[in-house]
């Protein structure tokens, strides 16, 4: 099986671009949406429900000719905290990066407080990250803390 995946990955290798590995399989489409990969013209291949020792089942995305800014890629840190980036140039991995939870999160997450204005009017949510592990986010508006257990992606 391991051999098979390796083979397959080789087949769909990209010349230049970014490979995002170790995405939890259930969050693949959320990652695609957060990174707006469904709105760009680059060639993209993805695989999902691949075996992973760490995650059980993982997904992988390869985007040709795309190199993410840290701010951009860190948006996925909440839903893919173990994601690893391989930067590919001329078929070779030239750099490896890990995602990092930023100090402030805009959008992506819902405030868990049903009485929060952000759940009652069209407002982009905004949180200060007060703890990264376990995650704790303080709403900029209602000041309530959304913890790991109540974390909901929009």
């Amino acid at each position: 099986m391991e051999e098979n995946i390796k083979k397959k990955l080789k087949v769909s290798a990209i010349k230049d671009g970014t490979v995002i590995d170790h995405i939890p399989a259930q969050n693949l489409f959320k990652v695609i949406s957060i990174l707006r990969l469904d709105h760009i013209d680059n060639q993209i291949t993805f695989g999902t429900n691949l075996e992973s020792y760490k995650l059980g089942s993982k997904a992988i995305i390869k985007v040709s000719d795309k190199f993410f800014e840290d701010d951009e890629i860190n948006k996925i840190a909440l839903i893919a905290p173990h994601a690893k980036l391989n930067i590919i140039r001329n078929y070779a991995v030239t750099e490896k990066k890990e995602v990092e939870i930023p100090a402030e999160i805009r959008g992506i997450v819902r405030c868990f407080n049903p009485r929060c204005i952000t759940n009652n009017e069209a407002i982009t949510t905004r949180f200060a990250v007060i703890s990264k592990s376990p995650i704790a986010l303080k709403c900029h508006y209602c000041e309530k803390i959304t913890d790991q257990e109540h974390l909901q992606i929009q």
């Binding site: 204005i117 009017e121 709403c139 000041e143």
Partner: protein
């Protein structure tokens, strides 16, 4: 940059002291023409007669004019207008917005939209900073200082926004001691206790009134509401424990004062009202002077 007051922590210790100094000035000279020719919007998306009248009295004593509404039913909210649009429109009319809203975070959001300053007159269970400043003014007036005070907070310490804000504000002063008296269901949340520990401030927790109340300088009462309990039997068990009675004040310090944000239901027995240590009605009057101070500070009038 405009100066909003949304959360009590928007102000520094220097600003607290500035407001209290101005409040003392307005107490001596309540009628001023500082707001002459200015329009203040008083937007009460939920009714709160006490807070609204206190603000509108403050505005009138400063010589300003008030526009607005006393409840959402008499505003365009009933037609489905968003808060965003209401605030954008009223920003065009008024020099200052005072706002009360049932949803938490509404005031912060309004401040981001408004081109004029916003003063939060309560956003759901979140913040009510002018209440905290009038509480501080009441403490300063009755104790002569905000340092070295032993503050008892009683009742609903879990959901009571007034006690949370007062705790945050008083923790900026020298050497306070906090005593929390609350049932298991309504204990002071961990984040506030953590804040005190980080600042090296002493606090103690009790399940009921004890003899140590004789050490209190301030007794801050709040209401224990039945709807806060998931188990009605638990409520029945504790409901009478958190009622302050006149005889309980017998061995307390002469300088102790009983505060309450009002409205009171039964958590302070009416026999306390005659006691000179009862301060809750005077506290409400202090609200007008404190709000005059906050408005003057917000608009740089003085």
């Amino acid at each position: 940059m405009k100066k909003d007051l949304i959360s009590i922590t928007d102000y520094s210790k220097e600003e607290y002291l500035r407001i209290l100094e101005l409040a003392a000035f307005f107490e001596l000279n309540p009628n001023q023409n500082l707001l002459n020719g200015k329009v203040v919007a008083s937007l009460f998306f939920e009714p709160s007669t006490r807070t609204r009248l206190s603000f509108e009295t403050a505005i009138s004593r400063l010589g300003g004019r008030v526009i607005g509404f006393a409840d959402a039913g008499s505003s365009s909210v009933t037609k489905g207008e968003t808060l965003h649009d209401t605030i954008r429109m009223i920003s065009n009319y008024a020099d200052l917005i005072v706002m009360r809203h049932p949803l938490e975070g509404a005031a912060r959001y309004a401040a981001e939209i408004a081109s004029v300053p916003v003063i939060n007159a309560g956003d759901g269970a979140n913040q009510h900073p002018t209440q905290t400043l009038l509480d501080m003014y009441s403490i300063l007036k009755t104790q002569g200082t905000l340092d070295n005070l032993n503050i008892f907070m009683v009742g609903d310490l879990k959901y009571g926004r007034t006690v949370h804000s007062l705790l945050m504000a008083m923790s900026d002063f020298e050497n306070p001691i906090f005593n929390f008296i609350a049932p298991d269901e309504l204990l002071m949340p961990d984040e506030y206790k953590m804040h005190l520990r980080e600042k090296g401030i002493r606090y103690f927790e009790h399940r009921e009134f004890t003899d140590i109340i004789s050490a209190a300088d301030i007794i801050y009462m709040t209401r224990v509401q039945k709807e806060r309990f998931s188990d009605p039997i638990e409520y029945e068990k504790v409901k009478n424990i958190y009622i302050l009675r006149d005889r309980m004040l017998k061995n307390t310090k002469p300088n102790v004062r009983v505060l309450h944000p009002l409205p009171r239901v039964n958590e302070i027995h009416t026999d306390v009202d005659r006691n000179e240590k009862a301060y809750y009605f005077d506290q409400a009057l202090n609200g007008v002077f404190t709000r005059e101070a906050i408005i003057a500070h917000t608009l740089n009038l003085i």
